[in-house]
Amino acid sequence: MASAAATMERPPRGLELVKQQSTPEALAVLGVGALAILLALLGPLVVLLMNGFTPLEDLVSGFKSGAFRGVLWTAVGLGALAIAGAGLIFKRQGTKISREETIAAAILGIQAIVLSLLLIGFAGGDVQKFAQNYLDFRIIGEQDPGLKDFFNAAKNTVVLAFSAEFFGVVLGLVFAVFAISKRAVVRAPARVYINLFRGTPLILQIVFIGVGLPIGLGINIPAYRAAIIALSLNAAAYSAEVFRAGIQSIERGQLEAARGLGMSYMQAMRYAILPQAVRRVIPPLMNEFVILIKDTALVLVLGLTAGERELMTYGDFGVANTFNATFFILIAAGYLAVTLPLIRVVNAVERKLRSGLVGVGA
């Protein structure tokens, strides 16, 4: 009994296991690799910080300094050392953990070398010119457009994306249900619509709806509204395809069970099929949304007025006004500020749906 209890003990996990299985030499090469990557990542930053970011001349001299190159070449050396050391000791590592540590050391070494060489190469170029054109943040706020306009533009991007997603999803769901109809007369128009909007560039759709359509119909469509319409119609086509795939992924038996209970086709869709389908397609729909946020940049072609400018129009205006591309760096950061949190949410939702009780599947 006692011996049985002993073998039933939980084997070590986590840090406990690492401690037990590591070897000093594996830990040593891992340390060298980690040092190399840290030096390649943080070393240049420290050198630049010590030189100062402003004025621009200090930043440039930081890139050109001997310390900048020195710290990077050291990282290259340490990286090479980690790789060589790892290669030397790998074969005699007898535990899974120590082998993984050795492999990690070599990979970190490679990453440190690649990163360092890229930075050395960059510092060897015309840093002066690059910094003036892309990193001159003083220019923002000094001239028109200012930082206040930037936040307004960011707000407009978000408004455009959210309204287009809203209308797109609602319209897309309708088109998806049409597209799977057993009646060809219902199906065909939906397919034509979906294929038309999926088969032509969004930028053409925006131009056509914003410029061509008002002329053709003889009405005035304000540019901002035209932008929302074009983005919505485009998003509807893509959402429709996502919904259609979702609906068709629901087992046939679900529809049969609903119809067997006396529900009409539409009732079966509404109460049995769509709730499951919608849940299943939330991750791909959110993915489409991330794409849509970036696609709002294409409304640039509509020439929005000052208060309506979204990020891309704002950036383009800034660059044209100041002949300085720092605005592009700024708006890139603006897009990331919206998309990165959303991408995190998508991943979290996806995890939740996959593990959820109320989830998908039978």
């Binding site: 087992e251 038996g253 679900q254 049969e256 069970a257 609903a258 119809r259 067997g260 209970l261 006396g262 529900m263 009409s264 009732q267 109460y271 049995a272 709730p275 499951q276 849940r279 009780l357 109320v358 989830g359 998908v360 599947g361 039978a362």
Partner: protein, 244 residues
């Protein structure tokens, strides 16, 4: 003639080039428990699904309660609300609780009041022995429990007829009995049932009538005990010798 609940009249079913049902004539009256057996591919399930027209016969007529339901003008939703069907794969709605599965059709199809629908759902779950599972989602239930919820869902509609399509075939052996017991109790209460199954013991003990199918035709039709003891057709003999 007039007391027959279901009448099939020369039913043929083609799936593409595949002739699955080859002229089925069948009449069954209220209170009968008709068990349909036969080798796989013989058309048992298709026959069952032709009764509530989940499968539309290629030709032939189906009568339910005296009215021809293959008539294009029939409101099939109304007809189906009067026939419960239970499937091999349970087909519970996974996004609803056991109670929700039962309530939804009561409210949306039969327009039963909310309170009454929930009361009926609880009563039916009690009847199938799952009064404590009202709030459980299908994924939290065993296969046998899911199938009993599916039976409760069909029964809550107060159907005149219950169709069972190989309802124990997807279950682990130790879960088969609880479902068969539920069906046996239902038969004892006088429910009219059509049961497609591979459970020969159930067919013998619970069935009031046994139909043997082969290659899209009914080859034998009679009292279960007599058919098992003394099959008339060669085909029945060989089938029974393989399964018994």
């Amino acid at each position: 003639m007039s007391d027959s609940l279901i009448r099939l009249d020369g039913i043929h079913k083609w799936f593409g080039d595949n002739h699955v049902l080859k002229g089925i004539d069948l009449e069954m009256s209220q209170g009968q428990v008709v068990v349909v057996i036969g080798p796989s591919g013989s058309g048992k399930s298709t026959l069952l699904r032709c009764v509530n027209l989940l499968e539309e016969p290629t030709s032939g007529k189906v009568f339910f309660d005296g009215a021809e339901i293959t008539d294009i003008r029939t409101d099939l939703n109304k007809v189906r609300a009067n026939m419960g069907i239970v499937f091999q794969a349970f087909n519970l709605f996974p996004h609803m609780t056991a109670e929700g599965n039962i309530v939804v059709a009561l409210k949306k199809v039969l327009k039963v009041e909310d309170a009454e629908a929930h009361k009926r759902a609880k009563d039916e779950l009690e009847r199938v022995g799952l009064p404590h599972k009202t709030d459980a989602y299908p994924s939290q239930l065993s296969g046998g429990q899911q199938q009993r919820v599916a039976i409760a869902r069909a029964l809550a509609m107060r159907p005149k007829l219950m169709l069972f399509d190989e309802v124990t075939s997807a279950l682990d052996p130790e879960l088969v009995k609880e479902v068969l017991d539920t069906m046996r109790a239902l038969a004892d209460e006088g429910m009219t049932m059509v049961v497609v199954t591979h459970e020969m013991g159930f067919a013998r003990e619970v069935g009031s009538r046994l139909i043997v199918m082969d290659e899209g035709k009914i080859v034998e039709d009679g009292n279960p005990r007599e058919v098992f003891a003394n099959p008339q057709q060669e085909r029945t003999k060989s089938f029974l010798s393989h399964v018994l």
